[in-house]
């Protein structure tokens, strides 16, 4: 059977201009003053695949390109080259705690986020109580999100996405939210999804998470996949990378050069 998700030769560069122009006025006034741009290579020829029902872990240092990779896999960003082939619907949970309209209460926000994640209003109305209960926010259902703490907002995001997921779940820093009780509920919900055949891609800095939950993992460094293997191998390689052991001296990515972005 074909893999449920394939990343083929993904590359992504960001252009960093020496002078940032973000208004009409700056563009007009800056026409006579040329600005140079620097290219930041975030991902360079990244390929991998995920099998149906598998949990794939992704590790890497801050700024190594993990978040960009997740956004490309989720279809939020476009790669410069390469393609993502998804053979099932994807539900991402990224940038926790900022996906809300602060002027609206929890119920309206659940309806908004749930409906962009593809749930119908009927499904959402039936699931609202369950979502609030999972996030332990029943008492705050009618409170505007602007009065929520960031922890409460993140718990709500997890609760919606865990309910909305249909086949592939993409999680940034799973289980890094909430108190021990909430983490425990997330972990058991995650096991439930895994045993019912859902596919997951999990980014984490926590070697325990990768070892415990992932069938396979990737270590990303400077835009390249430098190690692929089981969770244990990759978690150890990541620890080694952080402590600069030679075991992690994998091929290094090209440093940003003045290459025109496509």
């Amino acid at each position: 059977m074909a893999p449920i998700l394939e990343a083929r030769h993904l590359s992504k560069r960001f252009r960093i201009p020496s002078v940032k122009r973000s208004t009409v006025r700056e563009h007009v006034l800056g026409m006579l003053r040329p600005s140079s741009t620097e290219e930041l290579v975030v991902l360079d020829d990244v390929s991998f695949s995920v099998e149906r029902g598998e949990t794939l872990g992704i590790m890497g240092r801050n700024g190594c390109g993990k978040s960009t990779l997740l956004k490309i896999l989720s279809g939020i960003y476009m790669p410069d080259t390469g393609e993502v082939i998804a053979r099932g619907p994807i539900t991402p949970i990224l940038e926790l705690g900022v996906g809300w309209n602060p002027e609206l209460d929890a119920i309206d926000n659940i309806l908004l986020l749930g409906s962009v994640m593809g749930m119908s209003l009927k499904e959402l109305r039936q699931a609202t109580d369950e979502i609030l209960a999972f996030a332990e926010l029943e008492r705050f259902a009618n409170m505007k999100l602007q009065h929520y703490s960031s922890g409460m907002a993140s718990r709500l995001a997890y609760a919606v996405a865990f309910r909305a997921v249909r086949e592939i779940l993409i999680l940034d820093e799973i289980f890094a939210v909430g108190d021990a009780g909430f983490r425990e509920r997330c972990e058991s919900r995650f096991r439930e999804l895994h045993s019912s055949g859902h596919t997951a891609i999990v980014v984490s800095h926590d070697p325990r998470t990768i070892k415990t939950f992932c069938d396979r993992a990737l270590l990303v460094d400077r835009g390249h996949v430098v190690v692929q293997g089981d969770g244990l191998t990759v978690a150890d390689a990541y620890t080694a990378l952080l402590t600069h052991e030679p075991a992690a001296a994998a091929p290094t990515a090209a440093l940003p050069e003045a290459v025109p972005a496509s």
Binding site: I76, E83, E103, L112, S115, S120
Partner: protein
Amino acid sequence: MADAPTRRHHWGGLVWTLVRTDFKARYHGTVGGFVWALLKPFTMFLVLLGVFSFIFASDPVYKRNLLLGLFLWDFFAEGTKVGIISMHQKGYLLTKTRFPSWIVVVTSASNAVITLAVFTVAIVGFLALTGRTPSPVELVLYLAYLVAALLIVAGISLAGSVLFLRYRDLNQVWDVVTQAGFFVAPIIYPLNILPERFHFYLYLWPPTAIIQFSRAVLVQHDIPTLRAHLMLLGMTAVVFTAGAAIYRRFAPRAVEYI
């Protein structure tokens, strides 16, 4: 990029939720709050009426023309203003998952549409009560002009929403354009006070045609010619198509600029 996964999406639910929550956030979910939306053009009407009805005292339909013009203008100005910043405002949803971003652009006009719909019911009711009921043909034509106005607002909003993410003062540029445009469109003055050779240029500004045609059918009971209708159709098609083309060009990477 692979095609969107095959799965039934319930975008109808998203559209309804966006419309409902936009209304709620704007008017605090109360009918009382909504009255403010109607009061804005109506207050403008009373003030302008106080001043200009003396100047145009010889025009028996000046009041009705002014009221109709102001509400149609308000729809255009409000719809485009909100539309241009719509992707920026809904960035918190667009960075979460992949869904068609044009939905947030098009639904952003919903509050302006609701205001215009309430006004339309009110003015048609008023005309009926005062024995000047528009004929079914005139009503259908008026509704067609509203659809054209909506398509023009949608075209400008689609282009503006993606460009605003790159040019963050575009809303201020548009403010200046609409401020000048208020006087280019014959809202507070009758078009016929200007020499006829200028009319063509004023008609190039889309609100002019929408306002003049609506006045013709609802107030003057004088249906514009087929040629005039074809020109309105052409202008609507050009504005909407150009807006949609700019949107298609910039939308795939728009989220990277949020």
